[in-house]
């Protein structure tokens, strides 16, 4: 635990942390782009998951259209999230909402990897296999919880 806290302290004391806290606009800019990233990521994921849940015959095309938006959103999330985290890593790391958000992201990412491994071929052919629906539902829940828990950090 002390090692973790020392690592967090070092990250917080890094040039990135100093810039996030000490400049007027780095933190707000990262915060704004973090919201944009969340909108793109969850929006694109939701469109695809709902297509799977509805057994849409366009699921292959929807998947192709949605993934670059989701990837852009995720890239924005990672880049800006590291800036926001650097500003207050030592306290943020123990925030219950933040820990819940990390857990939701881990579940969402593992679910995504499993979905890709199980169904990639059939989705590309525009088919929805029954087992895919359960995973699409879990995906919707996990990413929604991740976004809500993220906003909840400010209130816990």
């Amino acid at each position: 635990m002390e090692t973790v806290q020392a690592l967090l302290a070092a990250y917080e004391a890094s040039a990135l942390g100093v810039a996030a806290r000490g400049t007027t606009w780095v933190y707000p800019a990262a915060n704004l782009l973090h919201v944009l990233g969340a909108a793109l990521l969850l929006g694109a994921i939701a469109v695809f998951d709902v297509a799977v849940l509805r057994t849409s015959r366009f699921v292959g095309a929807i998947g192709l259209a949605a993934w670059p938006i989701a990837a852009l959103g995720l890239a924005l999330q990672l880049a800006t999230g590291l800036v926001l985290f650097a500003a207050e890593a030592t306290t943020m790391a123990w925030n219950l909402a933040f820990l819940g958000k990390l857990a939701a992201i881990a579940i969402g990412a593992a679910n995504l990897a499993l979905f890709h491994w199980r169904f990639h071929g059939s989705i590309a052919e525009g088919l929805v296999i029954p087992g895919a629906k359960a995973q699409a539902g879990l995906s919707l829940i996990a990413w929604t919880v991740a976004v809500l828990a993220g906003r909840g950090i400010a209130y816990l």
């Binding site: 302290a9 007027t24 707000p28």
Partner: protein
Amino acid sequence: MPAHKPALLLAAAAQLLAAPAGAHHGWGSYDASKVLTITAPVQHLDWSNPHAHLRLAHDNEEWEATLAPLSRMQLRGLTQEMLQPGATVTVVGYVSTRTPREMRAERIIVAGKTIELR
């Protein structure tokens, strides 16, 4: 250089532990029925995002006042220079329900200017 790293880390950790518990939070963890007004010279200014903090003496105790994000304060004409240690300020705000001797400032009066912080 590597030999100095652990010492540096420890120093940084100690400094952070000594720093005010600068949690990022909304107004929910403050008791709006407990309005506190402190007029005192600034003892310490932490001019940083997501919220700036002041340390002020009040009833022989050290209080921490949580202010606003830097961008909001600057847009409203409150600068880092106005809050340097020694400057007399009046903060009006609410007492934390979580952290002892911490308040969130609704407004601050400094150098004859009143700046709203919400």
